[in-house]
Amino acid sequence: MANELAIEISALTKSYKSASEGKKLAVAGIDLQVVVGEIFAILGPNGAGKTTTVEILEGYRSRDSGDVKVLGQDPAALDKNSWAWRDRIGIVLQSTNDSQDLSVTETVKHFANYYSNPRNPDRVIAEVGLEEKRDARIATLSGGQRRRLDVALGIIGNPEILFLDEPTTGFDPEARRAFWDLIRKLRDEGTTILLTTHYLDEAEALADRVAVIVDGKIVEIATPENLGGRNNAKAKISWLENGIKQEVESDSPTLEVAKLAERFSGEIPELSIIRPSLEDIYLEMIGHK
């Protein structure tokens, strides 16, 4: 079924009381929809309200107002059958430090017992790339390996939706790439994935769609290619003429350069053509010009 919704949020708000500032609005009216089978990234700086939003979706936090549905269920109105809903979702929390004295296999196999239709623990361990560490105590794992275990525990129940809260914070580049491959593979197998990140490149590499969130509000929702109007942003052409730096913005830079080439009949002094990078656009969006 195409375009079936896995997550629907409308007009979601949440505030916290803080001693210094009084009431602080962490989520200030968010609307978004996640389609079944996509990787949806919530991108934003630290403190933008990403984790609060996701924890409301996961059923950990209450909300002040708005409507939320995850797999058709309001996470704030879970009744006695909440297990049936949790049976269909997988959660990878921001940071964990538990089960230090157990081995990887013991932990993954144990968690499989919680679900009605679990994946094969040995296969899950292999999928997250922890085969060599299967008998190692969790306390001895590196940060990246520990995170892979978190994902293993998140997917052992064969979830329809997987929540990933800043999954690669603290990874080295190689581990991140391997991790991204794993997430893509899960998506290809049909898992809907909602991921929060403050890494622009992560959202760009993984997400089918990105929501940029700043101060609890969504600034834009788009595919990574179209984010911030990057696809039709004007290019900046600059050169030196009579000792003065000249600059024009244009939709058709090639034509501009051809005209210049005619005028200068040869090399154009200090010619440069700059398109805004995704990073420029993102930084502008989150207000760090």
């Binding site: 979702i89 964990t96 538990d98 525990l153």
Partner: protein
Amino acid sequence: MRPNIIKVGFLRGGLEIKQFMRQRESVVFTLLFPVMLLFIFGSVFKGELAPGVTFSQYFVAGMIASGLVNTGFQQLAIMIPIERDFGTLKRLRGTPVSPISYFIGKTIVVFAAMIVQIAMLIGFGAALFDLNLPTTFDKWFRFTWLILLGSACSTILGIAFSSVPKNGRGASAVVSPIVIILQFFSGVFFVFTTLPFWMQQFAAIFPLKWLTQGMRSVFLPEDFATQEVAGNWEISRIALVLIVWTILGTLLALKTFRWSNK
């Protein structure tokens, strides 16, 4: 089909026992500490309290009772806040696992530790201090229900009290003094009747005093009962106090239990 809650509880129990055994400090302090105390007190106080009743006999009864408090109440009231800090509980909350399975797991690990501890106390007591074991069926029966009821009470109060410490780091500082003071007031380290009246009255509010008294009724001769405060063992009152505290603890635990530290 939902996985069976009881079965998952037992699986959690097995896992918790495994984790417990792998933490050397907890094994040493929870299991060996009472035995070390017995050794110290038994070596220092060699006299008899009454004809045929050595101090170590009196003390073993007290140590078994307070062992139930250590492995149940103290261990859980400290461990659960630490598990909150580590995210263990938050992770479990995000799975379909039932809180009842979690509680069953805790009860099993506590119970296993208690049985080992009691066996060691009795074993060392018999080997080193000529501890007399109960000889009648009645006393063994009473010993059994005291252990079951005492551990249930201790476990559930530990879960209930785990909501009091704000976080794992401070838990030990909040919980341990309470346990130590109760042990002094309840006649674990000293003969209860030699304590000041107000101390006895205070201790009588809490279950440890009654549990200790019950254990004395198992390990001390029948006629020693005349030296108790009431002049007898007050067996039915002991059962009543433990049951009331267990019910109270269950209500509290259900009302106050939380999955994460704020």
